[in-house]
Amino acid sequence: SRKKNKRIYFDEYDMFVEHRCSDFGMDSSKNKYPGDSVVTGRGRINGRLAYVFSQDFTVFGGSLSGAHAQKICKVMDQAAMVGAPVIGLNDSGGARIQEGVESLAGYADIFLDTSYLFITGPDVVKSVTNEDVTQEQLGGAKTHTSVSGVAHRAFENDIDALLNLREFFNYLPLSNRDPAPVRECHDPSDRLVPELDMLVPIESTKAYDMLDIIHSIADEREFFEIMPSYARNIVVGFARMNGRTVGIVGNQPKVASGCLDINSSVKGARFVRFCDAFNIPLITFVDVPGFLPGTAQEYGGIIRHGAKLLFAFAEATVPKITIITRKAYGGAYDVMSSKHLRGDANYAWPTAEVAVMGAKGAVQIIFRGKEADAEAEYVDKFANPFPAAMRGFVDDIIQPSTTRVRICHDLDVLASKTQSSPWKKHANIPL
């Protein structure tokens, strides 16, 4: 992998560095490898600058030595200086690697079936807690992408991961000093999306797929989903609108009715923070029946975790566009990039219901089940977007088919948005 190919523009650093350790036979000349157990350097992806380090498992199992760490720190320092990203390809037996390394702003890739990631391996687990677990169960790709949320995507193999990484890289600005990139786009910004006019089912209890909305609105139906297998009741990922990268957050009515729970709140919050940090506008699709009730959630601290999402949206100063497709109930409505959290453009589809809660539940609480007709009255009053529109909580009620046009226009206008928050050392997100 170190051979220089004239066609591939990769400039390698520190090829002559060797490890300095002399204990346990490491000083013998046959144990010296030029460059040690990591390859570092810089190159271009689609013409854009990137720094990269790749741990080399063929040299001492890719373990982290002083020289190894120094090489990584060198590219990181330089990347920070010029404002370009660092891509880390981790393949190391040493677990201390996480301490020093932030790879591409924390987006880690794991390969299916061949990769494992854990603090302590199965043998230690067995001796300490007497728990039987395999490597795959403890820290395999499936565990980290669907259960723990540690990894954001899993891929078939190294090549597949690198190809997808290139695709992902194209969505991102080189640093937080750059605006969201705008790529050449062939999809007309004024394209109407007629199928959206009948996408939301008439029965408000019936599910639909939020990904259908996202695909039909995004440029060329392309959506790079982040954490697709974890907390699937919220969908997050990157797309382009008229060429410009946007971050999309959407409740997924197909999974757990799209409710907010601990995992989905944290997943959403992390993504919103990422977009805000890198100047990527946020588009939020709301169809949320509320926070998931119950002891499991309350004991787990849903209030604290839900507040993370609220905090992230409230603090974000990137352009924020929100579309309420159907339910926007209670506290969950507020959390989902509402007008009250400094939303720039908040729209409602005609099917939107902005209310404290669903009509059935509300009537049961107000009348203790004694007033049967009241439900219809509640539906008439609140199960529509007008009360919210009259108070200015939504800026407009829009025909769903025009959503793409509206978003593209808003993004053009909001490109020059500036907004500042009061001075503080750092924000105090409810961790």
């Binding site: 190919n5 066609r7 591939i8 523009y9 271009r44 689609n46 013409g47 854009r48 600058l49 010029v82 404002g83 370009a84 079936d113 061949t114 891929f155 078939e156 193999n157 190294d158 090549i159 597949d160 190809l163 997808n164 290139r166 695709e167 992902f168 194209n170 080189l174 000093r177 750059d178 605006p179 990139p181 705008v182 790529r183 050449e184 786009c185 062939h186 999809d187 007309p188 007629p194 199928e195 959206l196 006019d197 009948m198 996408l199 008439i202 259908d212 695909h215 039909s216 440029d219 060329e220 139906r221 060429g243």
Partner: protein
Amino acid sequence: TCQHVSSLDLKNLCFVHLSRFLLFFSLQTFEKLLIANRGEIACRVIKTCKKMGIKTVAIHSDVDANAVHVKMADEAVCVGPAPTSKSYLNMDAIMEVIKKTRAQAVHPGYGFLSENKEFARRLASEGVTFIGPDTHAIQAMGDKIESKLLAKNAKVNTIPGFDGVVKDADEAVRIAREIGYPVMIKASAGGGGKGMRIAWDDEETREGFRFSSQEAASSFGDDRLLIEKFIDNPRHIEIQVLADKHGNALWLNERECSIQRRNQKVVEEAPSTFLDPETRRAMGEQAVALAKAVKYSSAGTVEFLVDSSKNFYFLEMNTRLQVEHPVTECITGLDLVQEMIRVAKGYPLRHKQADIPINGWAVECRVYAEDPYKSFGLPSIGKLSQYQEPLHVPSVRVDSGIQQGSDISIYYDPMISKLITYGSNRAEALKRMEEALDNYVIRGVAHNISLLREVIIHPRFVQGDISTKFLPEVYPDGFKGHKLTDLERRELLATAASLYVAEQLRSQRFLGTPRIPIAKSKQSSWELSVRLGDGIYPVAVSKDGSSFSVEVDGMKLNVTSEWNLASPLLSVTIDGTQRTIQRLSRNASGDTSIQFLGTVYKLQILTKVAAELSKYMPEKAAEDTSSILRSPMPGAVVAVSVKPGDMVSEGQEICVIEAMKMQNSMIAAKTGKVSYLGSLKTICNLSNRIEFKKEKRRILCCSP
């Protein structure tokens, strides 16, 4: 009603004698008409009503609330939940709507209540006009046994067979032996291929009897069956008739409907390549004789089987508008729905037999949401994520009742549309059909475009050498899609590689001036490795101005296009040959699927470097599918024939799944023991499978 007649209609009617033409303008028909149907046929009827100035009422089930026919109609009323028995067949609810909306007439379309004499009778008793023949004709022709007797009496050629209802499977076997195998078992009340089975021996007769009676019961609410001699290798040619209430009847030429799968028509055309003027006239005259014998009025179709010696036998008469009526409209210039409405109002026919022309040639393809790779078409369901009809191709008519975003559900017929092309001769009509099929964008559900396109370009079809056995004869091992010639494969590889490079180049084009300048790539040639099917092909692409020069298999091809990467249709010129292709998907891993010559090909495109490195990647063990039997389509489980602990042998029925009114027997692929049977819910979908595990000797039926 003058203002409702467009100039187009004037053109259509130009051959009508002036006096009758003027009379037409002064005629009133109905003020408001209800369409007791859904989908494309409801839309088709509404279109004619609009031009005649008739207000329309649509009925719909709750899942169809957003359907196109509902939007097109002036009024729409929900008549019940999704299952047809509770909505489109719900006579009480429909009668209620008629009363409420004060509709004066009802057009039943085809299927549903179109040949239901009880419905016609109820309408008559309420003083509402049924756009179709009277109850007597529906009853006489709707019953296959009675219709055969009538046909015999009217001196129409009939097929030898049993003229009575079959009581049970034993009687069926006895009768079948008397007539001689093969025999056809069919529902007495049937039509459209439902409740129909062919049997070649006693065992098949018993099985056919069971299936047909179940299907007949569920489709028509009438499980009576009859048996007749099955004419092997026949053509299916039908005569369109049009009759009024004054004893006049016309034959509007024939339609060739031989291309069928499971007794359902797929490709139809008018006229037929097979008929000479004498046979056409003889068939037409017999058809008219039959119509007159039952005092038929309205449009109807007399179906014939025609053997290789041009002997023709009466099959049945359909007392309704046929699905394939547009091809007749194309070559005769008549609007059959308009004629039906006029006749129903009591007006005499406007035409004489001599007025009926054969102008040019028309071909119709039924575009279905189904997977043609499984038994020539098993239903597929889903949302039409993208949908675009090829209306920019000249002389194309598309009759459809769906639009982008519509759902194809398990409740109704999976037909997406009828695609009709017209030309001054057959070759022209077929050429246009090819173009229309290539330009048809259907995404989100499986569709049969590939099969349709293969049929219309097949040498046997082009020569007119067809029969109802065409599909099984031409594709004895099932349909496998288009077979690429060497040149076509090179064209496909070159196109795919060019698209890949166009995409790569585009991903370097950023707008604005970035803080860190983007290094402009000077790369002008690409070495790629493309996987197509089992083959891996090295492909070299070099940019040559606005086009690409592509080297595949030592051959250089020039590929030009606008390379609009967002458009669902892509016009590509490969060495001077224009092709319309569709790129259905692509991903970062290099996988792409391209619809080329109607068939979808899956390719993987990697750079040569990536492809070389791929051999170091760990191999993934492929899932053993030989012991898994997947449900081939979504549907309802109507019967389970096994229970845990049963030994089943290879070929034994495990359960029966019903979808789109078709019953499908699920067969054990291997011998084994049932150790577990999951709870089977009524509806299973594609993600469910019936597992048959050989190694554990158990059969597993999974459900959500």
